[in-house]
């Protein structure tokens, strides 16, 4: 029998599956979730893009790879954040002022 672990235990530090539904253990009364889709100029979702979350000073905070549907998700804190996406289709940025709960933001790469 294998020990049961989840991505938010001490054992793990890698980014979980970006397309998976929010785990039931995530408390939206406490979490500030920043989520959205990376799209190309054509409007097509970009899978496999590298999305970095930068804090208000431009410092790197986290990075995830978008799901087949182009989705990404971060657990941050209220405040201003920059999203920076790198992909084979090009790169792009977006800024979001996040508050507690779910914050939607899209990033276009060109």
């Amino acid at each position: 029998m294998t020990a049961v672990t989840s991505a938010n235990t001490a054992a793990g530090c890698a980014a979980p599956d970006q397309a998976a539904p929010l785990p039931a253990s995530v408390d939206l009364e406490k979490e500030t979730v920043i989520t959205g889709t990376v799209v190309a100029d054509s409007g097509e979702a970009v899978a496999g893009a590298y999305v970095r979350l930068l804090d208000s000073t431009g410092e790197f905070t986290a990075e995830v790879v978008t799901s087949p549907e182009g989705l990404f998700r971060f657990f941050a804190a209220p405040g201003t954040w920059t999203l920076r996406a790198l992909s084979r289709h090009g790169n792009g940025d977006a800024t979001v002022t996040a508050s507690q709960g779910i914050n939607q933001v899209g990033v276009t790469v060109a």
Binding site: N8, A15, E59, F60, T61, F74, L86
Partner: protein
């Protein structure tokens, strides 16, 4: 150690995919990326299932490491090229294990999986198997591994480098921002630790910055060359990245990785903790 002995470029890797005595190894915590396509000929190591003890909080011991490498077909004389996702964090962690167990020739692929993908280099789903070997590991080299008592004793005496993000350092976040934040441990950092996020050492494509840039970054952060250094993060993999930079690229002496890191330290009863953006006092 130096960049020439510890690091290979993606161009070098592409030219040496079939070179005899060279083994490419993809290392990740979530190895599903390997299954969707890997560097041709590369085998995989699962950071959790292959490299962690399944019961205790520790990594594999000498015998487990020998059995693993023998079964995967890595020989003592092979040149091992490690790469992975997450900006090579887990590959750097594996590099540190290979060094700890005395492997002769091990290198990181600069930029890891990210640069390889962004460059649109070849990935394949072809299964890879290598004939088993009889791998012999050395006794663990504890001169590169720090334990908690040593870390507490290092407060105010050695260089402590906290490589987590500024918000984790200050205690505003408990985990990297791609993970939920509820954790058992207290927030903050080890008093007197300087904050140099691992990401300062890397370009956005995942490659390492130049030696001159790296020297300047750690110099300006107040790292004292004449002192021993202990690097830590949350679980020890981002600090392996910084350990690699300090020990293997810049050649600093007496650099240790504290793999217990904040998930251990932040749960210890009675140890000092500093909050806020400043290192704090001993």
């Amino acid at each position: 150690m130096s960049r020439d002995t510890a690091l290979v470029s993606a161009d070098w890797a592409e030219k040496n995919l079939d070179a005899s005595g060279v083994v490419f190894v993809e290392v990740d915590e979530d190895t599903s990326a390997y299954d969707t396509g890997h560097i041709p000929g590369a085998i995989k190591l699962d950071w959790r299932n292959d490299l962690q003890d399944p019961v205790r909080r520790d990594f594999v011991n000498k015998q487990q490491f020998e059995a693993l490498l023998s079964e995967r077909g890595i020989g003592n004389d092979d040149t091992v090229i490690l790469y992975g996702g997450n900006n090579n964090w887990f590959a750097a962690y594996a590099y540190w294990y290979f060094k700890l167990y005395g492997h002769g020739d091990v290198k990181l692929l600069d930029g890891g999986r990210k640069k390889w993908e962004l460059d649109a280099r070849t990935l394949t789903k072809d299964p890879v198997s290598r004939p088993a070997t009889q791998y012999t590991a050395q006794e663990p080299d504890l001169s590169i591994r720090a334990f908690r008592d040593e870390v507490v004793a290092a407060i105010g005496t050695k260089n402590l480098v906290d490589v987590r993000s500024p918000d984790e350092f200050a205690g505003r976040l408990l985990a990297p921002a791609h993970l939920p934040q509820e954790q058992a441990q207290r927030a903050g950092h080890i008093p007197t630790a300087v904050s140099v996020p691992w990401s300062k050492a890397a370009n956005e494509d995942g490659t390492f910055k130049s030696d001159d840039d790296l020297r300047q970054i750690y110099g300006e952060a107040g790292l004292d060359d004449s002192k021993a250094t202990i690097a830590y993060c949350r679980i020890g993999e981002r600090s392996s990245h910084t350990w690699f930079v300090l020990a293997e690229l810049l050649g600093h002496q007496d650099v240790k990785n504290y793999d217990g890191s904040w998930t251990e330290y932040g749960s210890l009863v009675g140890v000092p903790v500093a909050l806020g953006d400043e290192p704090g006092k001993a």
